[in-house]
Symmetry: D2
Amino acid sequence: MPASYAYLGPEGTFTEVALRTLPEAATRELVPYVSVQSALDAVRSGEAEAAFVPIENSVEGGITTTLDELVSGRPLMIYREVLLSITFALLVRPGTRLSDIKTVTAHPAAQPQVRNWLKAHLPDAAWESAASNADGARLVQEGRYDAAFAGEFAAGPYGLEVLESDIHDAENAQTRFVLVGRPARPAAPTGADKTSVVIWQRDDHPGGLRDLLGEFATRGINLMLLQSRPTGAGIGHYCFCVDAEGHISDRRVAEALMGLKRICLKVRYLGSYPRAETTPKDVGALRPGTSDEEFVAAADWVARCQDGRF
Amino acid sequence: MPASYAYLGPEGTFTEVALRTLPEAATRELVPYVSVQSALDAVRSGEAEAAFVPIENSVEGGITTTLDELVSGRPLMIYREVLLSITFALLVRPGTRLSDIKTVTAHPAAQPQVRNWLKAHLPDAAWESAASNADGARLVQEGRYDAAFAGEFAAGPYGLEVLESDIHDAENAQTRFVLVGRPARPAAPTGADKTSVVIWQRDDHPGGLRDLLGEFATRGINLMLLQSRPTGAGIGHYCFCVDAEGHISDRRVAEALMGLKRICLKVRYLGSYPRAETTPKDVGALRPGTSDEEFVAAADWVARCQDGRF
Amino acid sequence: MPASYAYLGPEGTFTEVALRTLPEAATRELVPYVSVQSALDAVRSGEAEAAFVPIENSVEGGITTTLDELVSGRPLMIYREVLLSITFALLVRPGTRLSDIKTVTAHPAAQPQVRNWLKAHLPDAAWESAASNADGARLVQEGRYDAAFAGEFAAGPYGLEVLESDIHDAENAQTRFVLVGRPARPAAPTGADKTSVVIWQRDDHPGGLRDLLGEFATRGINLMLLQSRPTGAGIGHYCFCVDAEGHISDRRVAEALMGLKRICLKVRYLGSYPRAETTPKDVGALRPGTSDEEFVAAADWVARCQDGRF
Amino acid sequence: MPASYAYLGPEGTFTEVALRTLPEAATRELVPYVSVQSALDAVRSGEAEAAFVPIENSVEGGITTTLDELVSGRPLMIYREVLLSITFALLVRPGTRLSDIKTVTAHPAAQPQVRNWLKAHLPDAAWESAASNADGARLVQEGRYDAAFAGEFAAGPYGLEVLESDIHDAENAQTRFVLVGRPARPAAPTGADKTSVVIWQRDDHPGGLRDLLGEFATRGINLMLLQSRPTGAGIGHYCFCVDAEGHISDRRVAEALMGLKRICLKVRYLGSYPRAETTPKDVGALRPGTSDEEFVAAADWVARCQDGRF
C-alpha cells in the first residue's frame, strides 16, 4: 500500500489538478478530505504522509483557514509549493446553447472571477452556490442547474461539454498550494527558495513590528507574504505569517531567524522550500554583504580576531 | 423622513445591537442590507447617510469583505467604531428541554465560539448552518430545528426562550464595527483616537515595508492593525490596511502620513475617529519628542533659523 | 571706513589666499588675527563683520579649535565656504642653490606634506619649526634659515625666489575655510548647498546616535562631516558637528532639523551655504519622495484629508 | 633583561603616573619616548613589548595622533586602558611666595585647565609654554621661570615645593590612556569590557553611516566613542574609530563585527579589554534578547529547525 497524500477535495477541483503537477504525487495514493483542517489532521495523526492545501490566492490573499491551522496545534512543515493559474470554463450538458441557460452554479469563491463575464453574456441567469466547483458540475449533470463554472478538466468526469473556456475577470488569477508534512529536515536549497515562519511579538510598542521586519531587511532578505492572524488573546492581538526569500541553510536567513528568535515572544518555523514563482523579482541579485561567502568570510575574520591572528 | 443608516442585516443580529449603542442611531432610520457591499454601495450612491459594518473580530482578524470594499472603489471614510463582546445564548421554543435537542443551527461564524460547549453538553446534536444567527432563530420558531445559537436579544422577536446564556469558547471574543460615510471633515480629536489608512508600496525590495512602518515608528506612533490585502495585480501583490494610534490633526500623525504619501505609490486615507478600546495600552504616555507642543516648538525653531533669529 | 573681515593670520598664508578668492573680500578691510578664537571673538564683539578661518583639512579632519568655538559661546553662523588645494613651494634667498641648503623651516602642519620630498631631495637638511609659513619665509629673508616651505605667493612679499614648486606628498591635499558671521538670514539656496548643525543627545543608549542620523537618512540627506567634540561634561561625553547636504529652506532638511530638535537635548544651527565641493557626489539625484515638490504635494494631501476633500 | 614598555615621555608626567597604576608595569622596564609615533613604532619593531599612550581626554576628545597611528600602518591592538583624573599643582622653588611669581610655565595642554585659576590668583603673571609639564618643572628648578603647573608628583624629582594643589577649571577632567601591543589573543572577558574597531564605509550614500551604527544598535550595544578620522583620500573622506561596550567573545559583539565586516569596505579590529569607567552607564542591564544565553538558545533553535527536530 503506497503512502497517501491528503488533499482538499472533492475530486476534480483545482486542488487536485495542482497536486498532480508534483512528480511525487504519481507514486502516492491521493485522498480527498472535506476540509483543510481534516486534511492536516490526517497528517498530524499519521494517517497521511502529507497534505496538499491552498494557502494563498490572488483574490483572497492568504487563506486564513490554512494559515490558522499552521499557526497553532501540533507543528507542521511546508515542503513544496505549486502555483496554478485559475481560469474557468462554462460547462453544460451536451446540446445546451448559451441562450438556454437560466441558472448557473459554482463555489462562491469563483464568483469574483466570473462576475464580469456573466454580466456581459448571461445578465439574466440566476446564480446558485455549490459546495465546490466539482459539485456544481455534478448538479448540472443531474439537471438541477443549466451550467456550472469549473475547471475545464471537470467536463469529462461529469459528461459535460465546454461551452466557453478561459473565463477570468482578473488577469493573473492564481492560487498557491502547499504540500505540508510532519517536521523533518527541509528540502535541500535550490538557490531560489522561500522560508515561512510565524512570529509573535514580545510586547506591543511603537516600532515593534518595524524592528521585527528589520531582522530581514538588514540582511537584504525580501518578504513575499506578511499576513496577520489573531492570536486568540482577544481583538487586536496578532501574530504574523511571513514568507521570506531564501533557505534556512542560507547564512543570512539563519541569522535573521536567530535574531527573530531572540527578540520575539515565539517563532514557529514552517519550512524552507523551492519557490514556485517565476516572476522577475525571483532572480534579483543579492545585496552586497549578504552572500554565504561573505558571511563565512566575516565569521572567519572574527574568529581570527578572537585568536589574535590578523 | 430621517436620514438612514445602512447596516449588515438581517435585523436582530449582533450588528444591529452594536449599531444601537451609538447615540446618533436613535435619530436615524436603520435599514438592514444583505451584504457589506450593498450597505457600502448605499452610502456611495447617496441612498444612505452612512453604513455600519463589522471590520475586525477576535477570531477572524480583519473582515476581508469590508476591508476590500474600503480599499477600492469610490473613497469612503470611517467616522466611528464600536466594540461588542460576543457571547451566545441557546434559544429554544418554550418548553423545550436540553435533552429534547437533536438539531442546532447558527451562522457558520458562530461555530468556533460554541464548539466546546456543544461537545460537552450536546455531543450528539446535528449542526445545520443558517444564513445568519437571526435566521437560525426564525427556523427554530418555524419548527425546522430544535435550537439556535444567537444573541440573547434574539429570543423575544422570535418567541423563543433562553435555555443557556453566556456561551463562548474564547475569552475576550469581540467584534469591532465601523460607521462608514462619504468623505468629509473627520471628527474632532478626543485624545484617544485612531487613524486608518491603506498603503501601496512603490516597489518591492528588501526593507521596503520596514521603511513604511518606520514612518510611524520614528514618530512614536503605535500600530493597532496591519492587514495585507491583495491589490488585484496578481498573487503576492499586497497593499496594507493600517490602524495607527492618534488623529490626523496630531502633528506626529500628520507628518507620518506625509512621509507615507511621499514614499508610497498610493495612500488612501480612511479617517480618524475615537478609539473604542479601553485596554491599558490606550493610555500610554507619548514618546518624548512627539507631542504637538514639541512639534510646534521645533517648527518655530526652524522658522527662526530660516530667519536668522536665534 | 569699510566693514572688516577678520582672518587667521599672519598675512601671506594660505588662509589669506583662500579669503581673497571670495568676491566680497575685495570690498572689505582684511584684518589678520593671531588665533581662530580672537578672530571669532572680533565677530562676536562687533569689531569685525565676519571672520574667515580654516575648519577642515584632508590631513587633520575637522579643525577642533574652530569647531569648539562654533559649538559653544555666543552663536555664530557660517555663510560661505572655500576649498583650497594646498601645495608648497621651496623659497630661498636669490642665488641659493639646492646644494646650499642646510636648514629648512615651515609651520609644523606643513611637515606631513613635504616629508617625502625632503627625504628624496634634501635628506640631510635640519628642520626648524616656524610660527606660520609666512613667518618661516621672513626668517629665511633675515638669513636665519636657508629655505622655507610656504605658498608660492609668499615669495614676492619677502623678496625670495621659488626654487621648487608644487610640492605635496598627499594627492588631493585641501583645506576648507569658512566665513563666519553673527546670526542672520542664511544665503539663498543655490541647489548645491550644505547645512551645518551641532547636536547633543538627550541621553546615551544603544541606538541613540543611529536614531539621530536616521533623521537625515530617512529623508535621503547625505552627510558630509560627522565630527564628535567633547561637551565639557567629562570624558566620553560628546556632541556632534554635522554637515549635511541641502539648505534649511529645502523641505527635507527643514523636517530633518525639526526631527532633531524634538529628540535631541539641544541643536545649534550653524548655517546653510553654497557647497564648494565639485566632486561627483555633489550632483547626485534626490532620492524619490524627498524633493520639495513631493513634500508640498504630501502636505497638501494631508490638508485635504484633514478637510475631508479627497 | 625585563621586557620593556614604551611610553609617551618625558618622565614625571601624567602618562607615567597612569602607567604605574598598572600592576604589570612593576615588572617591566619603562622607557620614555619623545612621541606617540615613536613609542608605537617601538612596539611594531619589537623593541618594546607594549606602548602606553594617551588616546582620549575630556577637553580634546580623541587624541588624533594616537588614533591615526592605530588606524594605519602595521596593525596593533589595545590590551588595557587607564583613566586618570587630571589636576594640577603649582610648583615653585622652596621659599617662593605667591606674590613673588611673575612668570609661569607648563605644556600648552594645561592652559585650559588652569586659566581661571590664573586669572583669579595671578592675573599679571606671564605665561610661557614648555615642551612638557615635567620640562616646565625643570625650567623652574633652573630658575628660568618662577612657577610651573604640573602634577603634584613632579615636585620631588625637581626639588620643588607644592604652593597650591588640586587646580582644575573643568570638573571631571580626565585622560584615558591605552596599553598597545602587537596583535595577539585579547584579554579574557570580565563582564565590563570595551571593543575598539576602525570602520571604512564601502561608499557614501544617505543612510550609510546610520546603517553601520545599526549593526551595534540592533544588538543592543552602546557606543562609547565615535571619532571620524581622514582616510587620506582627500577632504571629506573619513573612517570612524568606534569604542563599543562588550567583548569580542560576547555573541552580540561578535555578530555586530561580522555584520560590519560584511557591509564595510574595511574593518580593523583594535582589541577588547576591561573598561576603566566606573560611571553608572557601565552597569546597565542588557537589552532583552542580547545575552549570550539568548544567542546560544537561538542558534540551537535554528540548528534544530535545519535538522527538522522541533
